[in-house]
Every structure is written in structure tokens, then in C-alpha cells.
């Protein structure tokens, strides 16, 4: 059996899964020390189900802890941000576009050294090892405990980041090192930003992972545990200690994947309707389609592998205007229990509409009896049209797909949607995040610019696929379960030799017992 735990800012959810069956599920408050909240949630699900600790094969944890630490600027380390790329890159020094308070918190210790590579692997300059020794001296003098190393085109060749790490390990023993090529992809500033954010979490990650470990130990669970990352795959605790930044935005991914599993579908659209917005995303082979655009986290530009989610202004608290023809994007939000008509307020919301239509029993239905029938009908049609357009927009092709509805506001959608082959409302949708964590797999990726000229396309793709597969196996996947999930080829304008950027992602089942 698998246990899935979602540690959110407010609630800690836990589920026990036997295959695809939800054996037990609960929500309990997140605690300051994290571990007692996990412990409490585990007590409930293990108590309810009678599942013994030794029947548990693996525990998967999803957490927003690290994202929140950066957003709230709390418990972050000062970081030596080391860039290898001079004489290129000087025009935009490290942390240029960061919010001032976050840059201050991290101490603004930035260093730039000669080195780096061209897109085709030639050196821009040899690595400035003498300069690095000076940086090491500064790190020791300033008492910095964590460093981020970013070299130009390190996703193409990582040798300089690795060599720099080797030198720092010797010169500054005990300093945590974050290497950009292990974190991000092509796109220098975004990858450097991710490496620096990762570095500032280096000690928090060790603490959080040990509190996870302590909570499980207290319950007598000796099975291995894993933590989910933003692309819906798993990391070992040791990997999270080193790369906490990869957990950023794992929440939406887990929610979507959990919804898919609850509905028993791999290819589907997921609509998560909350109080203020509806998030619409697409699942392909059980994984969310990823966003191609830069994502800001805590005000910092990144290029993390995030689910591509479209948020529209429709939720259970959205305001209804123009006799139902216009809905949202503003919402009464958490004040719904005071402001909505059914709760004695004076604001017409989408919740009032569905109560008036007899589709839900919330608050006092007599307070909405006077809403004209035409308004109710128009508003319901408007809501369906909004969701339908969002679903259609997020699809990759004109083919119809099933739509899975989750979230507290899913009651707004009661009819079929023209863009959907069917509309599914699964049970246990409230703990979709924890279920998503429980079913996560292990992944590996390659993202690199290849010179295609004089080579067979298939041969290049094969090489990339093999490397992605090897990366998945190295991350803990069972070799023969690994499948290629996604191949993306982007031809690069203005470059000769048919230079093409190729991204390949492979995923496989977690190797139980060997991990």
C-alpha cells in the first residue's frame, strides 16, 4: 500500500491507497513543526483503516513548504551566487531583476568569473580557477554556508560547473553547493535564479526532510519515502535535501494527477473550481502539459517545469451582473458567508444562482426565490460557456476529451460541455493533492541544443531518448517500466547546421524495495 501526504500552508491531507482504491483519507491542520501535523494525519488514516506500518510500501509527500519560505522570505540562507561566463554575461549581473527585499535577505554576494561554453560546446573561456580560489576565500571570510554555481550553456556541457564544485568542496568544506545544470534548462537567467533560490533553501531542506523522517519514524513506518516535484515525478529525500527548489509548484501537478487517477483517466482536461477562480489544465498520459512561458515565484523569474494552467475568473463567490450575462472576475472570496444572498448578504454570487436553480442546498434558499428565472438561466449558461471556452482553449487539438471537475465550486457546472466528450465528478476530489502525491512516478529529462546537420534525425532522437531513460533509472525507476512521455523539437532560427533544441522526458514506476 502507498501513503500520500500533502503538506499545504493550511491543511495536511493524508490518504492510503491500495492500488487505485482509496482505503482512508483525512484533512488535518498543518503545524509549525510540520512533523506533528503529519503525525496527526497519519494517526487518523492508519486508525480508520487499521493499516499496519509494515503494510506500507512507500510514502509520498507533496509540500508547498519551500515555495512558501521563498514567498515569505523566511528561514533563508545567505548565498554566494557564482556565475561562470565572463567576458560574456556581464551586462546583466546575477539577481538584477530580483525584488530588493529578497536580494537583501540573500546578502547580494555575487561573483562573476571567466569561463562558460558556446551552444556547440566550444569554450567561451577557460575556467578561471585562480579567481575561484579568491571567491572561496571570500566565502570563508563572510561565513557564507551555501553557494550557487551557474555556467553559460551548462545544459550542453556541465564540465565547468562540476570542476568549480570540486574546487569549492576542497576549499570550503561543508558549504552546500547548487549546480544549475542539475536544476534548470537552457535560459541562463532563469536557471541561475533557480540555482540561487535552491541554495538559499539548503539548510531548511535538510530540516524539513528530517522532520518528515521523524514523523514517519514515530508511526513505525520504515518504508522508503519520496517527495514530489513540479512535473509530477518523485525525488528521494536525499535529492530533496540538495534540490528543494524542484518541489516548487508541485501542488497544482499533484491536484491534476490525483483528479485523473480518481477518474481513472490518463488523457483528460481537469477543471479545479475554487471560490474565486477556476484552474483549467490538460493531462496527457496522466501528466500535466507543461507551460512554455516564464513563471515568477516570489517575484523571481524562473523557467520551472510547471503545469500549464489557465485561471479564469469563475468561482463559487464570483459576482453575477447584467442579468447573468457577466460573471466575475471579482469574487466575494472568503467573505461569501456574509455577502452572498443565501447567507443574508446583498451581493448576487454564482452560489446564489445555483441555489435558486435548485442545484444545491446552501444557506437560506428563500432569500434567492425572487431572482428572475431568466437571470438564473442566463447565469448558468454563462458559467458553462466560460468553462467550456477555457477547456477548449487549453486543448492541444480539436478532439473532444473528458473533463474532470474537482474543487469546492465544481457544483457550478451541472450540464454537459460542448468541448467535452463527458463530464466526470469523482469522489474524494477534496484530497486529490495527496492522491496525486501517492501515485507519482520517477522521471528523467534531457534538454539540449543538437546540431542535426550530417546526422539522421532518428539517430539524434534515439540518443536523447536513451539519455532521458538513463536519467530516469538513475532517479530510481524500474528500467523496463520507463516510457518516453514527451518529445519536443524546436528548430532554432538563424543558426546553421539545423541546430535544434530537443527536450525528451521519460518516466517509469518507482522501484520498490530497491530504493
Amino acid at each position: 500500500m502507498r501513503v500520500g501526504i500533502d503538506v499545504g500552508g493550511t491543511n495536511t491531507d493524508a490518504v492510503i491507497l491500495d492500488g487505485d482504491t482509496v482505503v482512508a483519507a483525512c484533512k488535518s491542520p498543518t503545524t509549525l513543526d510540520v512533523s506533528s501535523g503529519i503525525s496527526a494525519a497519519l494517526s487518523v488514516v492508519m486508525g480508520d483503516s487499521g493499516v499496519q506500518p509494515d503494510a506500507i510500501d512507500a510514502v509520498m509527500i507533496g509540500t508547498t513548504h519551500f515555495t512558501n519560505a521563498v514567498v515569505e522570505r523566511r528561514r533563508l540562507l545567505e548565498v554566494a551566487a557564482i556565475r561562470i561566463g565572463l567576458p560574456a554575461t556581464r551586462g546583466v549581473p546575477p539577481m538584477t531583476d530580483w525584488p530588493a527585499d529578497l536580494a537583501d535577505t540573500l546578502g547580494r554576494h555575487t561573483f562573476m568569473l571567466h569561463g562558460g561554453h558556446e551552444f556547440d560546446g566550444r569554450e567561451i573561456a577557460p575556467l578561471d580557477e585562480a579567481g575561484l580560489l579568491e571567491v572561496a576565500k571570500e566565502i570563508r571570510a563572510r561565513g557564507i554556508r551555501s553557494a550557487a554555481i551557474t555556467s553559460v550553456f551548462s545544459p550542453v556541457t556541465a564540465v565547468m560547473e562540476l570542476r568549480a564544485a570540486e574546487i569549492l568542496r576542497e576549499e570550503c568544506p561543508g558549504v552546500a553547493l547548487s549546480l544549475s545544470h542539475e536544476i534548470g534548462r537552457v535560459g541562463f537567467l532563469e536557471r541561475e535564479n533557480a540555482a540561487i533560490m535552491n541554495a538559499c533553501l539548503a539548510e531548511l531542506s535538510v530540516k524539513v526532510v528530517s522532520s518528515f523522517r521523524a514523523a514517519l519514524g514515530e508511526k513505525g513506518i520504515t518504508a522508503p519515502f519520496f517527495i514530489s516535484q513540479n512535473d509530477g515525478t518523485l525525488m528521494t529525500p536525499e535529492h530533496v535535501e540538495r534540490y528543494p527548489v524542484l518541489t516548487f509548484a508541485s501542488g497544482p501537478t499533484n491536484s491534476m494527477r490525483g483528479a485523473a487517477r480518481l477518474a481513472g483517466l490518463g488523457d483528460a482536461m481537469v477543471v479545479d473550481i475554487g471560490g474565486t477562480t477556476s484552474d483549467v489544465g490538460m493531462l496527457m498520459q496522466g501528466f500535466p502539459r507543461e507551460s512554455a512561458v516564464a513563471v515568477d515565484i516570489g517575484g523571481v523569474r524562473t523557467n520551472f517545469r510547471m503545469p500549464d494552467v489557465l485561471a479564469i475568473g469563475l468561482g463559487g463567490g464570483s459576482l453575477v451582473r447584467d442579468e447573468g450575462a457577466r460573471i466575475g472576475p471579482d469574487s466575494v472570496g472568503y467573505e461569501i458567508t456574509e455577502k452572498a444572498l443565501v447567507f443574508g448578504g446583498d451581493t448576487l454570487t454564482t452560489t446564489d444562482i445555483i441555489v435558486a436553480a435548485g442545484l444545491a442546498d446552501i444557506g437560506d434558499a428563500s432569500r434567492v426565490a425572487s431572482i428572475p428565472k431568466a437571470t438564473v438561466e442566463t447565469a448558468i449558461a454563462t458559467m458553462h460557456r466560460m468553462v467550456d471556452e477555457a477547456v477548449d482553449r487549453m486543448k492541444m487539438s480539436a478532439d473532444k476529451l473528458p473533463v474532470i471537475l474537482v474543487g469546492g465550486g465544481s457544483v457550478l457546472i451541472s450540464r454537459e460541455l460542448p468541448s467535452a466528450s463527458e463530464v466526470i465528478r469523482p469522489e474524494n476530489a477534496g484530497v486529490a493533492n495527496a492522491i496525486g502525491a501517492a501515485i507519482a512516478q520517477v522521471g528523467g529529462e534531457v534538454d539540449r541544443i543538437y546540431a542535426m546537420e550530417g546526422r539522421q534525425r532518428d539517430e539524434v532522437l534515439d540518443e536523447a531518448k536513451k539519455e532521458a531513460t538513463a536519467n530516469a533509472v538513475a532517479a530510481g525507476a524500474v528500467g523496463n517500466s520507463v516510457k518516453i512521455m514527451d518529445i519536443e523539437e524546436v528548430p532554432l532560427a538563424y543558426l546553421p547546421g539545423s541546430a535544434t533544441r530537443i527536450r525528451v522526458k521519460a518516466v517509469g514506476d518507482l522501484a520498490f524495495g530497491e530504493a
Binding site: 567576458p87 560574456a88 546583466v92 477548449d392 538563424y494
Partner: protein, 363 residues
């Protein structure tokens, strides 16, 4: 006119609009110029009409792959070095720099050079939009030689090119840029103030800033940004602007050939727009047809914008399912003469259709 932080943000939006899908993301260029402002330097635009006839204007730019630029950031010295090298070759100091291309990243490089050298930047350019090659300039169309041209990298390696034609200059410099890692920084088309007044597309930088501002303010005031934009354009040199289509991206094809990103986007129309629009892309949007009938053609602008946010969408960010509105805009008359069309008209991109003005296509 001195530019501030908000102007730079507005410029990025307007430059993407005028880039008609190409020209690259101005983000990194904007960061470098912003750093100049943070360091207390000034970015000052000069109206072309205010130039002395004997001013020496040396335009600066990046050439190469925007995809390389996002990984190998510039030192910020490259374009300055190229300008200095041309000054040495010409035996004269520049009084101004200016863009060769207002669309995309190249709207920002001269701002960096100008701020760092204390030179005003001429408010205008030589493309009036984005084009893929260096001979596609009104400067060249009206007799200015692109050569001598300087091409520099981050090391200060510098190649001086003296070519017999602007086409040959493009051909040679492209090879140098590749050897420099796929992106290089250039100075070319050095000319007098009188020549700028005669050959440049005037006031395109301030136009891009205004377009960005108009769209931003329309959204802030909850007005329809498309209506506001269409009302704004007639007061500019790009005087005819019209929505030619609105619908949903239903198909996208991309490939690379001869160093260009080629592609084709299909848009299924929403009422009252019937049929299917097909847009052909060669780095930039070149031609829009509805059921085979031409609706807009290069060099007139064909801008694909998000129907909801009115954000211009660059070629690499087009996706299936996007709700888009396609706007076509007339380019200034100096870009529509037979001489200009011989350099950047439809036939220069291998299109069989003759150029027809957007005003006539929309009549």
C-alpha cells in the same frame, strides 16, 4: 525625450507588436537598459527633425539567434566596441546611435549603447518593424551603404566588413556571427543627419512606447484595448489599422529551412469572421489568407494578439487553442515604394502574390 522604467516596459510591448511575431524577446535588452537607469545614466531620444545635417549617426544592433542570446548574455560592451571601431574607420566621432530594427530585442540595444556612451538615440529605425536580414533596410533602399560594418563579440574580437553590396554584407557578417557563437553585436549604416532624415522610418521608438502605453492604459481603464489601439493608429505614420480576423488557432506547423523558422498558423474564425485564416511565417508573419484570398501581405504589419489581453504573441509562443485577433497595419509610404518592395517585398520571401496595400485589401 528621456526614457524611464515605465517607458522601457511599454517599449517592450510596442516592439513586440511592431515585430509582427519576430525579433526576439526584448527582456534581456530591457534588463541591461534598466541597469543603466539604476546606475544614474540617461536614455535620451532625439527626434530626427532635430538632427544637424552633418551629424554622424551610427546605428547599433544584435544579429543572430535570440535563442542563443537567452543563454549567452552579452557583456554589454560588444555593440559599443563595434560603434567605436566604425568611428575609428571613419575618422569621426558619432553624435548619435539609432536602431536598425524597431521590432523585438533590437529596439533596446541602441538604448544601452546611447546610455553608456552619453549619446542620444535617434527616434526612428531602418525597418519600421522586424525583418530577418540586414539588407532589408530603408537605409539601403535609399542609397546608404551598410558597409563599413563592424561585428564584435564579448571578447572584443572585431571584424570590419567592407562589402560591395548590402546583400554581401549580410552574407559575410552572418558567417562571422556564427563563428562568434551564434549571436554578435554590430554597427553599420553609418550616415549623416541629412541621410537619416531622408531614409529612416521616423519616430518608431516613441511609437512603440505609445503603443505599449495605449494598451496598458486601456486595460487599466477597462476599455477595449483593440478599439483604443485602432483609434490611436490613424494619428501616426502607420495610419491605417484594421482587425482582419478573429478566432482560434486550430493548427500550427513549424520547420527550419536555410536558417529560417518557417511555419504556418491556421485560425478558425469566430462570427462574423467566416472560413479559415492561414498565416505564413518566416521568422515574422508574412502573409494572411482567408480561404486562399490574400487579406494582408508583407511589408504591411500582420500582428497576432491575444483576444482577451491584447498582448502581441510572438511566433514561438503561438499555441493551439489561443483566442487571437489579427490586426493589420499599413507601413509608412517610404516602405511601400517599388525600390523598397524590391528589397523587402513579397518576392524577397519567395511569395508569388504581388504586394497590395492593406487599405485596398480591406476596401
Amino acid at each position: 525625450m528621456k526614457l524611464d522604467t515605465q517607458d522601457l516596459k511599454d517599449l517592450a510591448v510596442g516592439a513586440a507588436f511592431l515585430g509582427t511575431g519576430g525579433g526576439g524577446d526584448p527582456y534581456i535588452g530591457r534588463q541591461m537598459v534598466q541597469k543603466c537607469l539604476d546606475d544614474g545614466l540617461t536614455v535620451e531620444l532625439a527626434d530626427p527633425d532635430t538632427l544637424d545635417d552633418d551629424a554622424l549617426v551610427i546605428p547599433t544592433a544584435m544579429m543572430g539567434a535570440p535563442t542563443v542570446l537567452v543563454e549567452k548574455l552579452p557583456s554589454g560592451e560588444e555593440a559599443i566596441l563595434s560603434l567605436k571601431r566604425l568611428e575609428k574607420r571613419l575618422g569621426k566621432s558619432a553624435t548619435h546611435t539609432m536602431p536598425i530594427e524597431v521590432g523585438g530585442i533590437n529596439s533596446t540595444i541602441p538604448l544601452l549603447v546611447g546610455a553608456r556612451l552619453g549619446l542620444p538615440i535617434v527616434d526612428g529605425d531602418g525597418m519600421g518593424r522586424a525583418f530577418p536580414e540586414l539588407q532589408m533596410e530603408t537605409f539601403g533602399v535609399y542609397g546608404i551603404s551598410g558597409s563599413p560594418m563592424a561585428v564584435s563579440n564579448e571578447w572584443g574580437d572585431c571584424t570590419l566588413i567592407e562589402a560591395r553590396s548590402n546583400e554581401m554584407m549580410e552574407w559575410l557578417s552572418r558567417g562571422v556571427a556564427i563563428r562568434m557563437g551564434g549571436a554578435a553585436y554590430i554597427a553599420e549604416y553609418a550616415m549623416s543627419g541629412a541621410d537619416v532624415k531622408r531614409t529612416a522610418v521616423p519616430r518608431t521608438l516613441s511609437l512603440a512606447i505609445q503603443i505599449g502605453r495605449v494598451l496598458r492604459e486601456a486595460k487599466a481603464n477597462h476599455q477595449n484595448p483593440f478599439e483604443v489601439l485602432l483609434a490611436f493608429m490613424p494619428g501616426t505614420l502607420y495610419s491605417f489599422a484594421t482587425i482582419i480576423y478573429s478566432g482560434k488557432i486550430s493548427d500550427l506547423q513549424r520547420e527550419t529551412r536555410n536558417g529560417f523558422s518557417l511555419g504556418r498558423a491556421k485560425i478558425d474564425g469566430f462570427a462574423p469572421y467566416d472560413g479559415v485564416m492561414e498565416i505564413e511565417i518566416q521568422n515574422e508573419n508574412l502573409i494572411a489568407r482567408v480561404d486562399g484570398k490574400v487579406r494582408a501581405i508583407v511589408p504591411d504589419l500582420i500582428c497576432i494578439m491575444d483576444s482577451e489581453t491584447a498582448e502581441p504573441i510572438t511566433t514561438e509562443n503561438l499555441r493551439y487553442g489561443q483566442r487571437v485577433t489579427v490586426i493589420s497595419v499599413s507601413v509608412p509610404e517610404l516602405m511601400r515604394t517599388p525600390e523598397a518592395l524590391a528589397v523587402f517585398g513579397p518576392s524577397c520571401f519567395g511569395l508569388d502574390e504581388p504586394y497590395t496595400k492593406i487599405e485596398d485589401l480591406s476596401a
